[in-house]
């Protein structure tokens, strides 16, 4: 699904009285995959959370298409078009993988059971659909969270350390899926400690150099 361009203008972030970065400007076109890099504490997660809309920016603006993502109609449009998957997998232990996924998708648009089973199969959880998630390992719970990437039709993905606890096979599948999404007109912003040098066409933002 084709995304609109994302324009970051003079964005500044302040956490707990400390300025993490300021005057950050960047333009993302559909098809871009942006890797945000930098040392610990440089504001990678904070930048992603500001983009997602969880954290207010200290200064500056971000535009999706024409409108600002922080106010009014632009904010509503952004909420419908972006998918954020953070550190915590948002998976409830008492519910099964299928129930968790069904609820997470329903937060934007409900999805049928068949599609959920297909998505779980694609992340390698075939046979675990009705297992309560507290019986799954950390890596498996993360796969349940990432199964949303195979289900929902958001053009913009914001992923914070998506490869954590995923094994090598899973990592390459996910990398391929991310590149395919970008190729079809989406935008992906992610942070990771994994090396992504082998992927072509990746843009990189190093927050260690911005400040």
């Amino acid at each position: 699904m084709k995304s609109q361009p994302v324009d970051i203008r003079q964005l500044a972030c302040e956490r707990d009285q400390r300025e993490l970065f300021e005057d950050l400007s960047l333009h993302l076109e559909p098809g871009d995959v942006l890797q945000v890099a930098g040392p610990n504490g440089s504001g990678k997660t904070s930048l992603l959370r500001i983009l997602a809309g969880l954290l207010p920016a200290a200064a500056g603006d971000v535009r999706y298409g024409e409108d600002s993502i922080f106010v009014g109609a632009g904010r509503d449009l952004w909420r419908q078009n972006r998918l954020y998957i953070g550190h915590a997998p948002a998976v409830k232990g008492a519910l099964s993988a299928e129930e968790n996924l069904s609820w997470l998708c329903a937060l934007s648009k409900p999805v049928s059971r068949e599609l959920i089973w297909q998505a779980l199969q694609r992340v390698g959880l075939h046979g675990f659909e009705d297992v309560p998630c507290d019986h799954l390992s950390a890596g498996q719970q993360r796969r349940v969270a990432l199964a949303r990437l195979y289900l929902e039709v958001h053009p913009v993905w914001i992923l914070d350390e998506p490869f954590t606890a995923i094994d090598r096979g899973g990592v390459s599948t996910l990398e391929a899926h991310v590149m395919a999404h970008a190729a079809s007109g989406g935008i992906v912003v992610l942070t990771t400690h994994h090396s992504l040098d082998h992927l072509s066409g990746l843009r990189c933002l190093d927050l260690g150099q911005v400040t």
């Binding site: 997602a52 997998p89 519910l95 329903a106 937060l107």
Partner: protein
């Protein structure tokens, strides 16, 4: 929009009944607190009758408050709360459904149990409908106000004591009206006025508190 309300309600219901033991805790707490009073002040029926409206109401207040403490915490810790805040659906509506579900499994259960304890504290049978009505109208207010406190303290592990400190002063009007209704019934006076005032508070809480709860959750998530 109705679909998300229904799905949310089902989710909460499923989560609650997968851990059924936890549903009993507030009710047992309610029973224990009420039982402390005859032990503390003596079993003389006329004294218990005078104290009964206050004791039952205070016990209901404390039981509701303590059960609300963790209302949002597990969602906050596993990241589900973030996804609620990020969703295009209105957050105030979603929290309202969540709090009402909590009221159904906690407050409503207290309402159903209250006649039993009323009798145990020597309340005459004719007073019990007033007791039930006052709790029926008052416990939603308790749940809604308590949820405001739960939202503001969602990132803290400190637990019930801070929540009690924040919210108990706000419970005082409901307490006064609720016990007033039962005492009026004890004296044979009409209860309708109290019920209407309690209803007013309930409507006020229903309309205003979801906004405060949503604000508190957004603040908690933005840490």
């Amino acid at each position: 929009m109705l679909q998300i309300i229904w799905l949310l309600f089902c989710r909460e219901w499923r989560l609650a009944w997968r851990r059924p033991g936890q549903l009993l805790n507030p009710l047992v707490f309610f029973a224990i607190v009420i039982s402390l009073f005859p032990l503390a002040v003596g079993p003389e029926p006329s004294m218990l009758r005078t104290m009964a409206p206050g004791v039952i109401w205070v016990a209901a207040l404390l039981a509701t408050l303590l059960s609300l403490d963790g209302l949002f915490r597990s969602d906050y810790e596993d990241g589900s709360l973030e996804q609620w805040v990020l969703s295009p659906h209105p957050l105030s509506l979603m929290v309202l459904v969540k709090v009402l579900h909590h009221w159904m499994v906690c407050g409503l259960a207290l309402v159903v149990l209250s006649p039993l304890f009323g009798l145990m504290l020597s309340l005459p049978v004719k007073v019990l409908p007033a007791l039930v009505l006052s709790l029926l109208l008052g416990t939603p207010v308790l749940s809604l106000l308590g949820a405001v406190g739960a939202a503001l303290t969602v990132g803290l592990k400190s637990g019930g004591v801070l929540l009690a400190l924040l919210i108990l002063p706000l419970y005082i009007p409901v307490l006064i009206l609720g016990t007033g209704a039962v005492e009026a019934a004890l004296q044979g006076l009409p209860v309708a006025g109290y019920a209407l005032w309690l209803g007013c508070l309930a409507v006020l809480a229903l309309s205003l508190s979801p906004v405060a709860i949503a604000a508190g959750l957004r603040i908690g998530v933005s840490e």
